[in-house]
Structure formats: C-alpha cells, structure tokens
C-alpha cells in the first residue's frame, strides 16, 4: 500500500525524525523549526511537506506563517475502532453461545 512507503521514507531521514520530535509536544512555525538545523529554510520546508504527505504532521496557515504539528489522529482512530469491535464481538459471541442452549 502506497501509504506505507511514504511513512517509511519519511522516518528514514534523521532531519525529519528530529522535526517530528520537535513537533511532538507543540505546534511550531517553519521559522522556529529551521533554527534547529544547519540547512536552509526551503530545505526544511521540503522535509515538512514530505512528512505532511505521509500523514505524519498536519499543517495550518496562521497569517503569513505555516505552522506544523505531529498527527496522532490515525492512531486514535484505529484505537477507537478496536474498542468498538471488542464490545461488538463480546455481544455477538454471546448470541452465538445462546444458539446452543442456556447452559452456555
């Protein structure tokens, strides 16, 4: 699945891993992020764009700035579905047992 390739490409680069670490605690603009690296702001922007394409960070415009944040949403959504299915299967398997008599 294409999404997997993007994510691995994204995290294989040390600059991008450092960017994700910086964004894990708070939203930051490109200017603040750039200050942490010896490369140009354009280069940092390219890394951020790649991370956004992979779904690992979210971007929003605030005035003339672009601000970034780590995206935990995919993880949260999967956990929600898992919780739903834990309850779902408890109920459905109860029905299954019930088909075979009250002693279950």
């Amino acid at each position: 699945m294409d999404g997997h390739h993007d994510v691995f490409t994204a995290i294989a680069d040390p600059t991008r891993r450092k960017l994700m670490e910086l964004l894990a605690e708070q939203e930051l603009p490109v200017t603040s992020l750039s200050a942490h690296f010896p490369i140009s702001r354009t280069a940092v922007s390219k890394h951020l764009h790649l991370l956004a394409e992979a779904g690992l960070v979210t971007e929003r415009k605030a005035g003339r700035e672009r601000r970034y944040r780590l995206n935990a949403e995919p993880l949260r959504e999967v956990k929600q579905w898992m919780a739903f299915y834990e309850k779902f299967w408890d109920e459905k398997l109860s029905n299954l047992k019930g088909l075979f008599g009250p002693k279950h």
Binding site: M1, G3, H4, V7, F8, I11, A12, P14, R17, K18, M20, E21, A24, A54, G55, L56, L70, A72, P74, L75, E77, V78, K79, W81, M82, Y85, E86, W89, K92, L93, N95, L96, K97, G98, L99, F100, G101, K103, H104
Partner: protein, 148 residues
C-alpha cells in the same frame, strides 16, 4: 530492538460449545447461520466470494461491512477480510473462525486481526523519535511489520 507493546494486538476469544463440530460449522459458515447471531449477510462458503454484513446505520458509519472469503477448510477454519466502511480508508482487518472437535463438543476460536497493519497507525510515535535509527533499523522495522 524492542517496540512498545502499545502496538495493536489481535482481538481473541476462545470457548467450548456443547455441540458437535458440524452443527457449529453450520452456525458460523453459512449465511443463515451467521444471520442468526452475527448480522444479516450474503455470505457464501466460496473462497474469493465478496459479501456484506448489514446492520442499522450508526453515528459515523453506514452499518455495512464489506468482506471477502480468504480461507475455507470445512469444518475447521473460515477466514475473511473485514472492512467496516470504505470511506474510513483503513486497511482491511481479518476475521478467522477456528473449530476443533473434542469428544462431541467444539472448541471455537475467533481472532480479529490486522489492526497493526494500518498505515502510520502502528508506529508508536515515541519509538520513531529515537535519534539512533539508521537505514538498517528501518529495514528491520519493515520486516517486523511484514512489509519488507
């Protein structure tokens, strides 16, 4: 390298049903059987058969589950893919029923797996922030995730 066990493990249930294996197989591997305890459906016991389960619409979801039969080994094993809703865009999970006969009773096991194959969702975020990672480590991660 070790990973946090906060990665998604399977949903697992196993219990004994006081009925012969053929009866339990009928209950879990036929359309009428499944409708009686799981949901209305158009299942057919044919590998590759695509079918749906339907329940009343929920808050964020149409109530339709899209499935495809993967493995069928009467009366021991049935597995099928399970996609709650195409628009959620998650990788399909897999439901597996396993039946084992024991002296006129049946041990029934349900596994609902594949939660750890979701794109990006598997990666415990803290683990990938380790500065020591290099290309070799990423390859090992791919293998661990079954993607290499």
């Amino acid at each position: 390298m070790s990973f946090e066990s906060s990665t998604m493990s399977d949903i697992f249930h196993s219990f004994t049903i006081d009925a012969p294996i053929a009866e339990v197989w009928t209950a879990v591997a036929t359309s009428e059987g499944l409708a009686a305890w799981l949901m209305p459906n158009d299942f057919q016991p044919v590998p590759g058969h695509k079918f749906t389960f339907r329940m009343p619409p929920q808050e964020n979801w149409s109530g339709v589950t899209h499935c495809e039969v993967l493995e069928l080994d009467e009366p021991h094993r049935l597995s099928f893919t399970w996609t709650s809703d195409p628009i959620h865009d998650l990788t399909p999970t897999v439901v597996t029923f396993t039946l084992e006969a024991h002296a006129g009773q049946t041990e029934f096991t349900l596994v609902h797996s594949g939660w750890d194959k979701q794109p990006a969702a598997l990666l415990p975020v803290r683990n990938i922030l380790d500065e020591g990672w290099g290309r070799h480590t990423v390859e090992r991660l791919k293998t661990y995730l079954g993607l290499a």
